[in-house]
């Protein structure tokens, strides 16, 4: 028997018992619009990244120890000891980010082309559920790293849950598996990350694909070609018969080329930038940490950090609900009519604003210096030009400046924390009295140091701060004050009493 014949017999044998070919063949050959071209590759790329997540995730699950005591060490083990273990983690991490990005692009394209209109409303709705499932996977995946980012990320999640009225404590308990972050928390998130959420995602992907088969791929929108629910299906089928091309190979080859390019990019990213974390040990007593969430959540982090305190509870609890509802409602608010972006300028504006807002908040979340530089006081020396020509008391003031850890939040010469303003020229803005009051009582985000510094320390510190101004730049004065203020002359400056109120 010749080989091709044997193959045919084998196929027939399987086909007669399973009907697999009869099931798969129409999937491959179903007609898709000829003009779809490169616009429709993003969904396929998302699916490819999801497949990579499953494969690398299963491999990682065989190596990872999901216990609070061993998780962090097991990641070190995977990175250092397992051949290509670091590559596995890098692929899983980068593919996760790539999947979120690709999904966002896919969603944006569907929104701009209004592909969600009749009869594809539920395609969109399953897509929205997939979005949240994938974001949940990303968040629980961040917890799997069990490092400081994971710990504080959980802490933020738990404190948001705690704000729920009446049942906040119970919601937090459900989330963490107890009142605090512990071993149960990791077990819980592990179960979510490897069983519940992937299962949900696979189910939703299946549903999403089934709906695509049922409703067909939407055509490229044409201005004037409106969607009329009464006649759309018949027209679509007519057009596909006349003008459609089979999915395989016509459309599939573009998917393959694009997915191939994405795969190469993924491997390059993983090889060059390596795995994410693990950062420091998840120990709440280590305060020298600057935890930030992973990329998909940086914009939320940025947004939350900008909220006025009074609005926090309302916004944190209501905004996500509103967001989900609005996203789900999109196809039901407008499921007929024009699809072309040129005829829906309002929706284009909405999409552009959403993209810009997320991009700006992500940047804010990535760069905002919200954490003090915890070792600023002990690692960053006072620059020379702030010490030369100073009196012994002022030099001691510079010591107090380090001793009281001012440097952790205030920079000198560009080095130090950025929580508070840089103090290089503070003496041009504040008088000694104002400085004294600010340090003793605090203000805004600045804590009060009145109880932590005695009178000598305070005097020395203020006298040091009053020397912090560029040479020949006038020190601060109180507008309208009657008496000439005592002004610290710097070496080289001519002693001219500054008359109050002359500035």
């Amino acid at each position: 028997m010749k080989a091709p014949r044997m193959f045919g017999v084998a196929i027939d044998w399987v086909e007669s018992r399973t009907g697999a070919v009869a099931f798969i063949a129409p999937l491959l050959t179903h007609h898709v619009p000829r003009n779809a071209k490169w616009w429709y590759v993003f969904g396929s790329a998302t699916l490819m990244f999801f497949t990579i997540q499953i494969v690398t995730g299963v491999c990682l699950a065989t190596l990872y120890a999901p216990s609070a005591a061993e998780a962090w060490e097991s990641l070190r083990y995977i990175d250092q000891q397992v051949p290509f273990g670091w590559m596995l983690r890098a692929l899983h991490g980068w593919s996760s980010n790539a999947m979120v990005v690709m999904m966002a692009i896919h969603m944006l394209q569907v929104f701009l082309h209004a592909s969600y209109k009749f009869p594809r409303e539920l395609n969109w709705v399953t897509g929205v559920f997939l979005l949240f499932t994938v974001l949940a996977l990303a968040f629980t995946g961040q917890v799997m790293r069990w490092d400081q980012d994971a710990y504080w990320g959980l802490g933020i999640g738990a404190s948001i849950a705690d704000r729920v009225p009446l049942i906040g404590n119970q919601v937090r308990g459900l989330l963490l598996g107890g009142p605090i972050i512990g071993g149960e928390t990791l077990s819980r998130f592990f179960a979510l990350h490897v069983f519940v959420l992937p299962g949900a995602a696979i189910g939703l992907v299946g549903l999403h694909l089934a709906l695509i088969m049922k409703n067909g791929i939407s055509e490229m929108p044409k201005p004037g070609a409106t969607v009329e629910p009464a006649t759309y299906r018949a027209e679509y089928e007519q057009r596909m018969e006349k003008d459609g091309v089979p999915f395989y190979p016509d459309a599939a080859q573009r998917d393959m080329v694009f997915c191939g390019a994405c795969l190469v990019l993924l491997v390059v990213l993983a090889a060059v930038y390596g795995p994410f974390g693990p950062g420091g040990q998840p120990d709440p007593t280590l305060i020298d940490t600057n935890p930030r969430p992973d990329y998909p959540f940086l914009w939320i982090f940025g947004a939350v950090s900008l909220l006025p305190p009074a609005s926090e509870t309302a916004v944190m609890l209501v905004a996500p609900l509103v967001g989900v509802l609005v996203l789900v409602a999109v196809p039901f608010l407008a499921n007929a009519g024009e699809r072309a972006p040129s005829r829906r300028p309002g929706m284009v504006l909405v999409a552009a604003l959403a993209v810009m807002a997320v991009a700006a908040l992500t940047w804010e979340g990535k760069t905002s210096p919200w954490s003090p530089v915890m070792d600023g006081w002990s690692a960053l020396p006072t620059p020379s030009h702030f010490l030369t020509g100073r009196t012994p008391l002022e030099v001691q003031g510079a010591n107090v400046f380090q001793f009281a850890q001012c440097r952790n939040c205030h920079s000198l010469n560009g080095l130090g924390g950025e929580r508070g303003p840089a103090l290089d020229a503070i003496a041009t803005r504040m008088t000694a009295d104002q400085l004294m009051r600010q340090i003793q009582q605090g203000d805004g985000n600045m804590p009060a140091f009145g109880r932590n510094l005695d009178s000598a320390q305070m005097t020395a510190l203020v006298s040091f701060l009053t020397t912090l101004r560029p040479e020949f730049e006038a020190p601060a004065v109180i507008p309208g004050a009657q008496l000439p203020l005592p002004v610290r002359q710097m070496p080289g400056e001519v002693a001219t009493p500054v008359a109050a109120g002359t500035q």
Partner: protein, 232 residues
């Protein structure tokens, strides 16, 4: 369609090429995490790391850093290892905090002494070079000290001295006798203050060892004991 065909033709070879080249260099890929190597306690790398994160904020070099510069050897001539280790563990005077385990600090006694030896090896030039001026404060005579101060120090450091008063009660409350001792002995050349045995305006040959003790005793006697003494 031509572009697509070109891509199709080029994609497979380039993918294979990328995979092959990365497989060949897999151990040297930039993304591979560094193995976490902890420098051995007491090694110069360890000392530099500890110093740079925990000490340098105050004790730097030259005119940088507000407290006595440990990266210059003037200080190491004027202090013993035991003194430095004790200062690291238990703090010193008013503004040097303790870093020892009794206050929840980061260093064990053995680490503190390894740090001291490491710093001396890096910056101290080996042994204590002026043994007669090392160690703790020697008791002196405050009355003699005032006379010496007026001649040797007051031009710069007196109440109306050109570089600011060291008899300012606020200053004296922030600097312990040990701190005064170190300041007189080591000086701070980068900020214009000579060491004890270097020329001073009224003393071309510096001070003698007894005179150092007397000056420190005088300054110590000027330190107000309570807030009420500080009222004008």
């Amino acid at each position: 369609m031509n572009a697509l065909r070109l891509l199709r033709a080029a994609s497979l070879p380039s993918l294979c090429g990328a995979l092959l080249s990365s497989a060949g260099a897999c151990d040297r890929l930039p993304g591979r995490p560094e193995s976490a190597q902890v420098a051995q306690e007491g090694s110069p790398e360890w000392t530099a790391h500890v110093f740079n994160t925990s000490c340098r904020g105050c004790h730097a070099q030259g005119s940088e850093g507000a407290a006595v510069p440990l990266m210059d050897n003037a200080y190491w001539r004027a202090a013993t290892d035991e003194q430095v280790t004790q200062a690291v563990l238990h703090g010193q005077g008013v503004l040097m905090p303790a870093f020892g385990p009794t206050v929840g600090g980061p260093f064990t006694p053995s680490q503190a002494s390894a740090l001291t030896r490491g710093m001396r090896a890096l910056w101290g030039g080996g042994a204590v070079r002026s043994p007669e001026m090392s160690g703790t404060v020697v008791a002196g005579n405050a009355t003699n000290g005032k006379a010496i101060f007026d001649v040797a120090c007051a031009a710069c450091h007196g109440a109306n001295g050109s570089s600011g008063s060291v008899t300012d009660p606020m200053y004296l409350r922030l600097v312990s006798d040990q701190g005064l001792w170190t300041a007189v002995v080591a000086g701070r050349r980068a900020l214009g203050s000579p060491a004890w045995n270097e020329p001073m305006p009224g003393r071309p040959n510096g001070l003698t060892t007894t005179e150092v003790a007397d000056v420190v005793a005088y300054l110590s006697s000027e330190r107000p004991r309570s807030m009420s003494e500080m009222q004008p």
